[in-house]
Structure formats: C-alpha cells, structure tokens
Symmetry: C2
Subunit: 214 residues, 2 copies
C-alpha cells in the first residue's frame, strides 16, 4: 500500500494530467469557435479557463504542503520542482486558448480566418491537441521516449506557422492589414501553445533522467 | 553572522537580481538595435541571452541543493517556490528581448519601424526597462508596496500597445502588410515582457505576504 506521502505525489500527477485535459479541450473549442465564428463557444472557452487556474492553485498548494511536511529527496524532489514548472506551462496554455477565443469573439459574426487559410488553422488546432494529449500521457506514464518525440511533432507546427506567414505576405493576399494582424497573432498563439506542450514533455524527461533534453 | 543556509538563500536572491539586470540590458540593447537597424547590436543581444539561461540553470541547481540538504519552512519555503517562478519569468524576458533583436536582424539594413512609430517604440522600451528595474529592486528589498505599483506602470505599456494597433489599422497606414506584421509581433513582445516583469513583482508580494495580489 502507498503511504500518504506517495498518495499526495500521485494526486499531484493526477492534477497535472487533468490540467492537460482541460487545456486540450480549451484549444479544441477555441479552434472550433474561430472556424465557426461561434460566439457562445468562444465565451465558454474564456469563462472556463478559471478551472485551469483553480487546478494550478491546487497544484501549488499541494507542493507547498508536501515540501513543508516532508523532506522529499531525489526523484520526488524533482517531481515537486517539475510539477511547478509543468503547472506554469499548462496554465499559460489555457491563457493561449483564451486568446484564440477572444479573436473569434472580437470578429464575430465575421470570421477572422479567410477561406484559404481554414485548412491550415484546422491542422494547427489538431497538432496542438495532439501535442497536449501526448504531453498528458507522458506526465501520467513518465515515458521518456514518447516525451522526446514531441519535439519532432512540434516541427510540423513550426512549418504551418511559417506557411501562415507566407500566405499573409504573398502578392495575392487580398484581405488587407486587419486580418493579417489577426492571423499573425493567432499563428503565434498556436505556436506558443505547442512550445509549452513540448516544455511539459521536457519536464518529464528531466523528472525521470535528471537532465534536460538538449 | 548568517549561517551557510541563509547565505545560500541570499545568493539565490542575488542571482535573481542579476537576471533582472541582464534582461534589462537585453531589452534596452534590442530596442536600440531595432531603432538604429544595428545588426551587430542585434547579434550581441541574441548571443548574450545564453548568460541569462546559464544564470537560470544556476538558480535551479541552487534550489534543488537547498531543498535536498535543508528542510526549508515558512518564508524560506516560499522563497524557493517563488525563486523558481521568478527565474522562469526572467528567462522568458530574455527570450523576448532576443525576439525583438531578431526582427531588427531580419529587416537589416532596413528598419522594421516606420518613422511615425519610432517614438511609441522608444516609450515601450523605456517602460519595459523601468518595469524590470523596479522588479529587480523589489526582489532585492522585498518591498511589497513598490511591487504592487508595477501593475499600474504596466497599464502604460498596454496603452502604448493599443496605440500601435490603432496606427497599423488606421486608414492612412501606408506601409502594407509586412511592416504591420513586424509591428504586431514587436508590440506583443514588449507587452509580454512587461507582463512577466509584473509577475516577478507579484511573486515578491506572494513571498512576503503568502498570498498573491488579486
């Protein structure tokens, strides 16, 4: 049987995995809100980010309690340090989903996404979801090999990000400056979201091996 | 006389204050590189960010050692938790200065900043420097009142950020899409830099009072 201390460490992991689920759902719904110009869904993403923040507060509180009552060593110590870092990354991913939803809300009932860029945004949303899902499963399983794969998936996001820029800067871009700004910011939000997912996976590598991937 | 343990905690504070100095210098030089289209200075900002990353690694190592060898309680425990958070914010501020420098490098020998926006960028650079300087002094002194003031200074940054957007979206914007994208990203970098400086100050409030400013 696990003792109370290890149960608390497990519960910390569970909370982080739950955070990955919430921010996956956030970016998924934000992408749909953006593509469908769905105001209600956008509002829903914005208001529900509070759940992510609440969970992060719980993670922080658990960490303080664990540290105050125990003297964690070795891998448990790294667990506490990395939990804080993973929580910070995941909380930020929730914010980035909110930023995407806010662009959808700002342009409603119009769409911020010109027809020819819809498929790129769909793909960026899918990669974001895939990255955070994999990150969540790495947190749960502590599987270093899977964690190291995320960097590779993130390259696909970077390629799509560059593709977005090429479209805005192409000679046949006909939508003017305002949609270009929206697309610039949206592209950046997805790219940052993916970066944070990679960082979560890198924290898993650090947790298990004691050193960060180069 | 301070014992070894408290000397280590002091040294942690010193390292964080040194990080604020480095990232202040980074954003200051990045702003100049941007305004003067100075390629060498831009390269200098980009290469010297390594110093910030090295210091952050030292902060993390100190924290792990402190936690492994001691059983910190109360305010010392919060110091360790907040040092990690402050270090993460400051490391990101270094990255954001690098992002600004990279735009300068990308557009060199041209300038990314149209003449009519130069004064706004000058101001954003000054506020960024002022915010991180104040944050650094809050970290050193643990002065809660000063820390709470940063939020107010950050409002000035948000106003300038909105002003940038208004300029790009104005009917008389004559520079086309590419400079609009540059300005959108640059504006976001300064705004994020300022947000992280505010977070550093908020961590000082948490360190001293045990609760975060609302």
């Amino acid at each position: 049987m696990r003792d109370a201390y290890h149960e608390e460490l497990d519960s910390l992991t569970d909370k982080l995995v739950e955070m990955t689920r919430l921010v996956r759902s956030g970016i998924s719904r934000a992408t749909t809100a953006l593509l469908d110009s769905d105001l209600q869904l956008a509002e829903n993403v914005i208001s529900r980010d509070e759940e992510v923040n609440t969970l992060f507060n719980e993670v922080e509180t658990s960490i303080l309690e664990l540290m105050a009552r125990q003297q964690p060593v070795a891998v448990d110590l790294r667990m506490i340090i990395t939990a804080l870092r993973m929580g910070t990354d995941l909380e930020r991913m929730g914010d980035l989903a909110v930023h995407v939803a806010k662009v959808a809300r700002l342009r409603h009932p119009d769409s911020a996404i010109p027809p020819e860029l819809r498929s790129t945004i769909v793909e960026m949303g899918q990669i974001a979801e895939s990255l955070v899902t994999k990150a969540g499963s790495c947190v749960a399983t502590r599987d270093v090999d899977s964690a190291l794969e995320l960097k590779h998936d993130d390259d696909a996001m970077d390629r799509l990000h560059r593709k977005l820029f090429r479209s805005i800067l192409a000679k046949d871009w006909q939508h003017g400056v305002e949609p270009a700004i929206d697309i610039t910011l949206i592209g950046r939000y997805y790219e940052r979201y993916a970066d944070h997912a990679v960082r979560v996976a890198e924290s898993v590598v650090y947790l298990v091996t004691g050193s960060r991937p180069s």
